[in-house]
């Protein structure tokens, strides 16, 4: 249903008399929850009735052995039932069913689906307008970050003293796994979701994404699976970290099934979103926007989802096999019956490494996009930036076994993987040059988005250098599985990616909400987070160097001071984040009304009015130059035609 005409008068009266929406007008989050509950209970009942314990005769070895298989089957079926019911209830299947029946949507239907004239209600429906989906992603990302952050506070409180009895080992291990997967999901979607959806189509001069209904689908799939993930601690927990290593995952209680279902559904959501974004960027750029005139943010988002498209299916496969081991009794990962834990590790890390670049690249690209605006200079070597992103993407699929140097799997492959891993520092370093070059002799307007660039550069240096340490095999032999690794990846994923996202949010806040982000207060929130962050993780490097393992609920007293410092830093992050949250809410509700282009930026999203009209542009623009025309001596027009 992509609207691709040059001109379109919105609201033209269709010939069909009935109001738009049909069945869809009655389907929303409430019906989704009801649908989820109904199908969930039905699935549970049927599964419990069907999957019964067979009467085993003479099985003296293991009379209750099948009990756990049955439990897992019932749990997996119940959880998939919830997801199915939820998606039925939100109306995700309405479109395909109608198409099969030959009754496609009318014009009024599509406008209804796009959220026309529905007020706040459109955020609780299967709305296809990319701007609505972007806000929905923003809210769910903030929710996930909040939950993940709360769990982090639990973990750090437990680690405040060496022999804490706060959580106990079962809950602690569960929280370690929960914090990890919640944050991984949140950081994967945090730039591509809100900004890739809301901003990117406007930025390329399109009226919506290529597949608006798939857009809504990708969001609601995530929404459906959040309760499943959050149910894990109440189902016995999960004994593994977010990496869900088998065979340990096989041993876990039914909470582990929640993780498996979450990943399987999330992988579908990512694939759908990836197909959507890639098609949109490739096919729907407006006239005149050649690849050399496409903003770098688009490159970043496309690179990220392009990387996710091959990576996440292996994650899904890894979990499907884990689910089969747990529910059917296969032995993909159990050595005793011919399987191997290394199969899991390889499948996982084939995803796991590209995935961190899926997280990192869009955030860095967003900062690359806003730096020219706040330095009033063209992006330094746009070509270098593109090549750097391409280089990172290309190399990132060749490095996965650096997570397995000491696994015993393939010692002879250590050298080649060390080479590819260390080579990634070359394109990554090039990105640093692009940032510095863009700042060089610029008019640096130190508003909060630009401050995020500085914070990011500091954190990225530390994160990057510590990554080089870890890439060295002998050093990794000392550092693998220690808190050093944890500190390293928090520096990159949180210090770079999350910081970049916070900057991006402040940058695009006015376009998305119509109000200016209150930087007076937000400044404090942001910098308290940064200071707390550095205290937390520099302290963590220290205990990592000294030999504290990861994922331990208790530790030797020699690590007491470092952990105490880290915990205090973590509490500081938390306070800073609460201040930032307050700023978001209060600015959204009552901030200064924003003009269309408060930053005097040149990309297309700033050339449309705020709030952005339903179909973005009255007349689609024609582009005649790149959006980095700051300070150019020639007087060519920055972009074509009409407003």
């Amino acid at each position: 249903m992509a609207i691709q005409t040059q001109e379109h008068t919105s609201g033209s009266a269709p010939s069909n008399a009935r109001a738009g929406g049909a069945l869809m007008s009655r389907m929303n989050l409430v019906t989704a929850i009801i649908g989820g509950l109904i199908v969930m209970f039905a699935a549970h009942y049927l599964a419990a009735a069907f999957f019964v314990m067979p009467v085993l005769e003479g099985d003296a070895e293991n009379p209750s052995g099948l009990g756990w298989l049955i439990d897992n089957r019932i749990t997996l079926t119940t959880m998939f039932g919830w997801v199915l019911g939820f998606m039925l209830g939100i109306g995700a299947f309405n479109g395909p069913v109608r198409w099969v029946l030959g009754k496609d949507l009318t014009d009024a239907d599509s406008l209804f689906l796009a959220g026309k004239d529905q007020g706040v209600g459109r955020y609780f429906r299967f709305t296809t307008d990319h701007k609505v989906v972007g806000i929905q992603y923003l809210i769910i990302t903030m929710t996930l970050l909040g939950v993940g952050g709360t769990v982090a506070m639990m973990i750090r409180t437990n680690l405040m003293t060496p022999h804490s009895a706060f959580l106990g080992p079962t809950t602690y291990n569960t929280f370690v796994g929960m914090h990890g997967i919640i944050m991984i999901i949140a950081t994967i979607i945090m730039v591509t979701g809100p900004f890739g959806n809301f901003i990117l189509p406007i930025m390329i001069g399109a009226r919506d994404m290529a597949f608006p209904r798939l857009n809504a689908l990708s969001f609601w799939l995530i929404a459906s699976v959040v309760p499943v993930l959050l149910s894990v601690p109440f189902l016995g927990g999960m004994p593994t970290g977010w990496t869900a290593y088998n065979p340990l995952a096989s041993q876990g209680p039914v909470g582990m099934d929640g993780f498996i279902v979450t990943i399987i559904v999330f992988a579908v959501s990512s694939a759908v979103a990836g197909a959507n974004i890639t098609t949109t960027a490739v096919k729907m750029r407006t006239r005149g926007m050649t690849w050399t005139r496409t903003p770098i943010f688009v490159y970043g988002v496309v690179a990220s989802v392009g990387l996710a498209i091959p990576a996440f299916p292996t994650f899904m496969a890894a979990q499907v096999l884990s689910g089969l081991d747990r529910g059917v009794g296969t032995s993909f990962y159990t050595a005793e019956d011919g399987g191997s834990g290394w199969l899991y590790a390889n499948l996982f890390w084939l995803m796991g490494h590209p995935e961190v670049y899926v997280i990192l690249i869009p955030a860095v690209a967003a900062l690359l996009e806003l730096t020219p605006v706040f330095t009033r200079k063209p992006l330094f070597s746009f070509k270098a930036a593109v090549i750097a992103i391409a280089g990172i993407v290309g190399l990132s699929v060749l490095v996965w076994a650096h997570h397995m140097y000491i696994s015993g799997w393939a010692p002879k492959l250590g050298g080649p993987f060390m080479l590819t891993t260390e080579m990634i520092s070359i394109p990554t370093g090039l990105l640093f040059l692009v940032f510095i070059g863009t700042m060089w002799r610029g008019r640096i307007w130190t508003r909060l988005p630009m401050m995020a660039v500085y914070a990011m550069l500091w954190n990225f240096v530390i994160g990057g250098v510590t990554g080089v340490y870890l890439s060295d095999i002998p050093v990794d032999e000392a550092m693998h599985g220690s808190m050093f690794v944890t500190a390293h990846f928090h520096y990159t994923l949180m210090g770079v990616a999350l910081t970049g996202t916070m900057g991006a949010l402040v940058f695009w806040f006015s376009k998305m909400t119509g109000r200016m982000f209150n930087e007076r207060i937000g400044f404090w929130g942001f910098w308290i987070v940064q200071i707390g962050f550095n205290v937390t993780f520099l302290g963590m490097f220290m205990v990592g160097f000294a030999g504290q393992p990861r994922r331990v609920f208790n530790y030797s007293e020699m690590f007491a001071n470092g952990n105490f410092v880290s915990t205090m830093g973590a509490y500081t992050i938390f306070i800073g984040m609460l201040i930032f949250l307050y700023t978001i809410i209060s600015s959204w509700r009552g901030g200064e009304i924003a003009s269309a282009n408060p930053w005097n930026a040149k990309t297309l999203e700033w050339q449309v009015p705020t709030p952005v009209p339903l179909e973005n542009f009255d007349v689609l623009p024609i582009i005649t130059s790149d959006p980095y025309g700051y300070g150019r001596p020639t007087s060519e027009p920055k972009e074509g035609a009409s407003r």
């Binding site: 209750s64 298989l69 706060f166 959580l167 005793e336 020699m558 306070i575």
Partner: protein, 234 residues
């Protein structure tokens, strides 16, 4: 007008404080909910003294535990609690013993058994003279195919917490010889070891009896209060 501005700023500050306090409150609430409820602790009974490792007399502390093939004996509630079919130790799995003393543990073992995967745990380690007593007879090893459970204790050695490792195999009971309480006639294992300075240690059964789970180490094997617990030396 200026006063209005002050009022707006005060309001902003107030809401900011409310947000922060609310956020902290949420974390507190979540923490309170998930905090481990203090398990029932068996404090060792100190009765008299005994010769210590260096010849001096040390306090002599006693603890006792039982192990059962299911959870129906009442340690986890009237109907066996959440997992009536799980093997369990009891009545408590958390113990407190004095530092620098001799601790004597008596285990009444009601459960059957099988072959243990790692025969290391079929031997006695870490006790006085590496010996233990089975139904009154001294022993330091049991057949690897007749292990019911083990009591294996260890902690994180550090300068402020001495290393302590004790592992005693508990012979399986004869399931055909049923006693008055409906369980097999138990084997009674007694062993003693010396504690050093204060510390927090953890014990668990090393005989894989979590039937049906991977390596039979899931379920009760991985749960405090069943086949695992804490051991505080004060």
């Amino acid at each position: 007008m200026a006063l209005q501005k002050v009022g707006v700023r005060m309001r902003r500050l107030a809401f900011l404080l409310i947000t922060v306090i609310a956020g902290v409150g949420v974390v507190f609430g979540v923490g309170a909910y998930f905090a481990q409820s203090a398990p029932a602790v068996q404090a060792a009974e100190v009765k008299g003294t005994a010769p210590g490792p260096n010849g001096t007399e040390v306090p002599h502390a006693f603890i006792s535990m039982e192990s059962y093939p299911d959870s129906m004996q009442g340690f986890h509630g009237a109907d066996g609690g959440a997992h009536p079919d799980w093997v369990t130790f009891g009545p408590q799995t958390s113990f407190e013993v004095p530092a620098n003393s001799l601790v004597t543990v008596t285990v009444t073992q009601y459960d059957g058994g099988e072959t243990i995967t790692n025969s290391y745990f079929a031997k006695v380690h870490g006790t006085v003279d590496n010996m233990a007593t089975l139904n009154g007879e001294p022993f330091n090893e049991i057949p690897a195919d007749a292990v019911g459970h083990t009591f294996t204790l260890r902690g994180i050695p550090s300068p402020s917490q001495p290393a302590l490792f004790v592992s005693v195999p508990l012979l399986m009971a004869n399931e055909e010889n049923v006693g008055d309480n409906g369980y097999p006639v138990p084997n009674i294992v007694t062993f003693s070891f010396y504690t050093g300075g204060p510390g927090l240690y953890f014990w668990n059964c090393e005989f894989p009896c979590g039937d049906g789970t991977l390596a039979n180490f899931g379920g009760p094997m991985s749960s405090l209060g069943y086949m695992a617990g804490t051991f505080t030396v004060k």
